[in-house]
Amino acid sequence: MRTYFIEFSYLLASILFILGLRGLSHPETARRGMHLAEFGMAAAVIGTLLQREIISYEWIIAGLLLGSTIGLAMGVWVPMTAMPQRTALSHAFGALAASLVGVSEYYLHGAKLGEFRMCAIGFEVLLGSLTTTGSLVAFGKLQGLVPGTPLVYKGQNIFNLSLLAVTIGCFILLLFYPGVAALFYLMLGLAFIFGILLVLPIGAADMPVVISLLNSYAGLASAATGFAISNNVLIIAGTLDGGSGFILSIVMCKAMNRSITNVLFGAFGNVTEKAGAASAGDMREAHLEDVGVQLAYARQVIFVPGYGMATAQAQHALRELANTLEDRGVTVKYAIHPVAGRMPGHMNVLLAEANVPYSQLYELDHINPEFPTTDVAVVVGANDVVNPDARDNPQSPITGMPILEVDRAKLAVVLKRGGGKGFSGLENPLFYKPNCEMLYGDAKDSITRLTQAVRQA
């Protein structure tokens, strides 16, 4: 009877998780969906606590209390701009939990494990460990604790791949000799090291792909836990998480016209001068008052936010400017590139935080045809996603990457911190076009001053 109750709670949780994710297909149903998922989680936890194997509750209660406190504190206090870091950190937590359960299973059963369970535990520990350290490095890069530029040295790829080969070798040997504990702990240690080495050479601008990929690994580690302890709800939830991360990585890679292999081993963002064909002409600095007038009398203005908007926390100021323009009858739209920012959907969340209705946020394919009839396009801290070289110059390292065609607007105003290059290190010919003007300075500050200029126009 008790077993039926427990299994039923897992079944209920699985159904509610799936319905919850289905709710995410529309912003209107999303919150309700998540409440279902929360309910499912509660059911699964209560079901688990009734299991006969659990004989003492001190560790459990202490763990639940401590975890809830940390989780709640993070959930309430983390600012929206820090969402990529938080996500990376939570991948590390999830993966570490999976890995530790695997280690404990091996520690308890060791040689008595059958091939199937050994295989599942191997996957669990391998994926879990490399995701833990990999996510921590990603967290460090996003938080600025580790340099965001790719860390490369000669023979790096060969070294990393051999390390991976040795790790997998240990795993395969374990399937035949599950009793050799040294192999297991060697595999564990190597997987931790491989995680670090995997993410170190990847530049900060490629983080949307890396985060998605680590998301996928963390989910698969959970699914492997499900295989190891033959628990279906773990398999289902882990697979959903793994699949979601995988789909997102593909979406992100497509948005950059690159393969996953290229992202992982290409050490992008380290491009030196060679590729960027020296652009002719000068960059023109914009006059604030002129831009204010142009904006005030425009029919349509499109804002193109990038990571610079997040670092400058400029989303609220931008919304303020948009409000001022809308009050004057200007149509305002926002163009969102899939890889703008540091994680999938990063810009959407920041703009939503600033109260921008989502009906004003446009995706690449929908907004590009509108640029030629747009009076002013304002680029707020984005660079590579508006680089026309990706479309026009087949020699460019980012060739084929879909871009927002800001250069086709009647006037493009680029808000930028300084005259330097963007993350990829590439020249951006947009800045030299006759219809482009540069507005240097902190994005938030520039936008606030633009708002004043519009009001005075």
């Binding site: 897992y10 994710l21 297909s25 529309h26 999303a30 998540m34 998922a37 989680m41 688990t48 606590l49 659990i54 004989i55 560790w59 763990g63 639940l64 975890g67 809830s68 940390i70 989780g71 709640l72 959930g75 309430v76 969402m83 939570s90 991948h91 937590f93 999830g94 570490l96 939990a97 530790l100 359960v101 404990s104 520690y107 308890l108 199937f116 963390a218 959970s222 295989f227 302890i229 628990n231 279906n232 709800v233 773990l234 289902i236 939830a237 882990g238 697979t239 959903l240 793994g242 699949g243 969102i336 994680m343 999938p344 959907g345 959407n348 969340v349 939503a352 109260n355 209705p357 989502y358």
Partner: protein, 104 residues
Amino acid sequence: MPSETVIATFYVFILAAFLGYQVISRVPPLLHTPLMSATNAISGISLVGSLVTAGAHQTTVSAVLGFIAVVCSTTNVVGGFVITDRMLKMFKRKTTSATKENSE
């Protein structure tokens, strides 16, 4: 482990993968960040495994490992759901709060 169980587990895995693909590819790019934090919270279900490890109390080592695992996965579950809800609350179709904003 009996081979029937192994096969049944694979069925569950494969079906979940297909279903996941169908469900998740319908999520618009608009909600990709909440999607990631939601799946993160959901995959905190590894809490189920952690709870058993921590509570079965077979050895001190396994209990400590289990305890750390419980802390990590609970952090993900609670933090993940709270943050997802905080984000989803912000997504609005129209500027219904425009009036509210002015009165603030």
